[in-house]
Amino acid sequence: MFSILRSIWLTFLHIFHKTETVEYPEVKPYLAPRYRGRIVLTRDAEKNERCVACYLCAAACPVDCISLQAAEDESGRRYPEFFRINFSRCIFCGFCEEACPTYAIQLIPDFEMAEYDRQNMVYEKKHLLISGEGKYPGYNFYKNAGVDMGVKGKGTGENEEMPVDVKGIMP
């Protein structure tokens, strides 16, 4: 009997506790910086698109919601001709972000993407591309890659050795 009265008293004391309700939309909930929300395509410090259209994100996607086509511009740099993500399929797992070698595709803590028409949930490159560097500032893929795109010469990157002269006699 006493335990019942004690339960009633303790429940009564909950009047003096703070409520846990987050009164959305006047108050937004706190989201961690690594929260897997909306997908964006980022640029590097020189404002060039980071994406090299390697198809790794489309291959990693478990629901096949990414669609893209590679193209080369005049200086030989690869870029995506079109880049389409179907957000009605996307499960926000972050596999594309983990697969991307250039840190181009990233997931940011934004979830407010509701639409009335299903066609409006298919985002093209112009909707996904942002002008900043996203979560990884100062990273340029071409500083660590093997190719020379005007960023560094062949063999001059970190952990890189100069290419072997195949026409020389010395071992």
Binding site: S7, L10, F12, H14, T19
Partner: protein
């Protein structure tokens, strides 16, 4: 003319309390569960009552073809009728009652027994195994708790020398009956919770146990009648506790007596809601054991001791 005004006044107060309880219960439960209740619709969410009523009215009022139609339609009505009849004899103020019956308490007990019919008929007419199980459990529970509901009130009747509610309130001018009749109050309070089948005694309509128990086949306004009927039952038991044990409309004269009556009633309604927020539901056989083995002897002992003391004092 004054008579019609009184009837209208009583009905208005009672029905608005019962409807307002929809909002009050949800917000109070939320306060005790560390969250906010409905606060979007209207100021502080008060228009939630209107929203719920409109929703219930517009739902499809489907009578199952496999059910017993006349009984199915009649069952919620019986509940409302019996409860509202009892409100007619409760005094809201010194002259604010519909009529003063000299068998007041017996009338209340008889009506609550008739109220059991509404549940049993509802469950039977639904022609549904689980509704019937809910109805049978409800009838067994309510029968048990009615036995000592009546007995616990006999102490009050002996002290006030009358069955009439108005006379009992007058007799408390020298001191509320809660003090001499504390055990009677406890037994009546627990029996009252069981009568209106509220938590912790809500096996008949438990949401997780038998879907919705005896009212699983009901939808639309008939369900609304069961729903509001339950809130009316809570209001009735709170009002009766306030009248019989806590002095009814008696109180310091700087506020009108109706106000004191409503204050005491609301206090007990809040207590009902607090019990719903805090207690788990006992198993059905534990409930019946509590009734027969603990509360029934307590009511009998209370009766005997009260009688003995009163004879000794005379």
């Amino acid at each position: 003319m004054k008579y019609l005004l009184t009837i209208a006044g009583v009905l208005l107060i009672v029905l608005s309390i019962a409807a307002g309880l929809i909002w009050v219960e949800r917000r109070l439960l939320a306060v005790w569960q560390d969250r906010l209740g409905p606060n979007r619709v209207g100021p502080f969410g008060v228009a939630q009552v209107i929203a719920d009523t409109v929703k219930l009215l517009f739902k499809e009022d489907w009578v199952p073809p496999f059910s017993d139609k006349p009984v199915f339609i009649m069952a919620p009505g019986i509940l409302m009728i019996t409860i509202l009849l009892t409100f007619a004899i409760l005094p809201f103020g010194p002259n604010f009652y519909v009529f003063d019956s000299n068998i007041g308490i017996l009338f209340f007990l008889g009506n609550s027994s008739l109220g059991v019919y509404s549940i049993v008929l509802g469950g039977w007419a639904s022609n549904n195994k689980y509704a019937l199980i809910g109805a049978m459990r409800a009838s067994a529970q309510m029968l048990t708790y009615e036995v000592f509901m009546g007995l616990s009130l006999m102490g009050v009747v002996m002290m006030a020398d009358s069955f009439s509610f108005c006379t009992i309130v007058e007799a408390q001018k020298g001191g509320w009956f809660i003090i001499p009749q504390f055990f009677g109050f406890v037994v009546f309070f627990i029996a009252g919770i069981a009568e209106t089948h509220r938590l912790p005694f809500d096996i008949p309509e438990a949401e997780g146990e038998l879907i919705a128990g005896y009212h699983s086949e009901y939808s639309g306004f008939k369900f609304g009648m069961f729903f509001v009927g339950e809130y009316l039952g809570i209001t009735l038991i709170s009002a009766i506790i306030a009248t019989l044990f806590f002095g009814g409309w008696l109180g310091p004269s700087f506020l009108p007596p109706v106000f004191w009556f409503l204050l005491k009633t609301f206090f007990f309604i809040g207590l009902f809601i607090l019990l719903r927020a805090s207690l788990p539901r006992p198993r059905y056989d534990q409930l019946m054991k509590l009734g027969w083995k603990v509360l029934f002897p307590m009511a009998l002992i209370n009766l005997i001791v009260t009688g003995a003391v009163l004879i000794f004092l005379k």
